[in-house]
Amino acid sequence: MTTQRNPIAGQAAIAGLGHTKQGELPGHSAEENAVDAALLALADCGLGPGDLDGLIACKSVQGQGNDVSVGQLLGLNLPYVQSLDYGTCNFSLHLAVMAIATGMASTILLTYGANARSGRFDFGKPMYGADMASAAGLVHIAGRAGLALARHKYLYGTTDEQFGMLAVGQRQWARRNPNAIFRNPMTMEDYLAEPYMVEPLRRPDVTMISDGGAALVVTAAERARDLPHVPVYVSGIAEYAGVRGEHNPENLMRPWLRDSAQAIWARTGLKPADIDVLYIQDPTAVWSLQMLEYYGFCGIGEGGPFLAEGHTLPGGDLPLNTHGGQLSESYTWGWMHLVEAVRQLRGQAADRQAGVPEVAMYCSSHGFVKAAASVLSTSQEVGA
């Protein structure tokens, strides 16, 4: 077998999307939210549960919504069923593409659901029991993300005004999105007037946990062409796992994001200038700053000045998180980024439609250990 640079390019496509209201959904379990979104995603592409031959369920951070609990509510026995522990949707999408490419399944439902907000899940509690960092008071993701940002500011002179362009910019996009939780105006003055939560991070730099479900239907390219919407092809996928974790030098800077970046560009033959709309999973704005740099949208250390130039804002040449991201739209463990990327490529983003994009990219990560990236396009040739 000869080795192709990017054998999956254009083989699978996202055909359907669905999501619940995002915010607070008391009385709905994580599984119910996942299945509500799944039924909407199936309806979106004119399919029913009986048309599926695969299910990939993504568990919430709390471990809810696995394949068995979702499969039971959908009433399905299927040839290919999996649960993933990692959110962001990128890992689920990659597994679906691989299952389709290998013939394990041809039409796969991807689900995520959570009720962490109404369930009052405590994100400040050490997630893996007592550990050495929480003994020092380093709790909540804002602590570690804050250390990374403070280091970035020290090394490169990044200012609060430059970094604040992420939160302020996400809000500008969210104001055009009826699904967004935070739609009130937030100017740079408003942002700078917010007190520090974990200095150098302010409250608007960190996501607010929300309830909700999101789902996608991924299918083989030839099948997607028979369905109602323009197929959104998966042009490239890449991951990299820095699972040495804290035993990597300077792991708070998440240096292994660079390895995922090198892989996605090498496989697809694309470069940052080819990306029309960009999505970065942003539980904290620090993730966006890091990934803009590691994926080469600007140089290492140049994220601050790059953001200040306004590239990522509405009307800019690199629209970023056009739904408002996790900072302003909803948490949803980054799943809504892919939902929005598909909407933009279909031309369905209404007031926030960023022209006629042909190529979208989604970069995400799992905490301080994993990186993933996907390139999507309405053209089957992209990345091939």
């Binding site: 007592a130 050495m132 380093l138 602590g143 280091r151 020290y154």
Partner: protein
Amino acid sequence: VSENGMLAPVDHPLTGPFWTAAGKGQLVVQQCESCGELRWPPLAGCPECRSRETSWVEVAQSGTIWSLVTYHRAFQAELEADIPYSVAMVRLDDGPYLVGRLAPDAHASIGDRVTAEFAKVNGVPQLRWRAEDSPAANGGSDGKA
């Protein structure tokens, strides 16, 4: 069980030796008996050479602040009384990176040289960092008696 027992793994077999040493004013980290690598945070084996043979060794109580944050919100009830408090990631002169609290009355910035001190908080030893040119408090006092 101390009030911050949930946050400080003093009884855990993997981390217990750190607290025992800290109670005696010593700063210790793991060292691989096979390749000699100093290791932090504690791990059941060596990620460099895969050996499971491990000792705890004393290291110099000095280093440089790699990064620093200040908490203005308590994410756990145990931390309420400490607000605001600062946490530093320190690169030890002997190599490993160690996270620890900045001494409550100390001021420091990234790049500053720091030395370790050990206080007892609710009966549990707590590692604190202090900039080398900032005056020491009455060391070892029960800061939150």
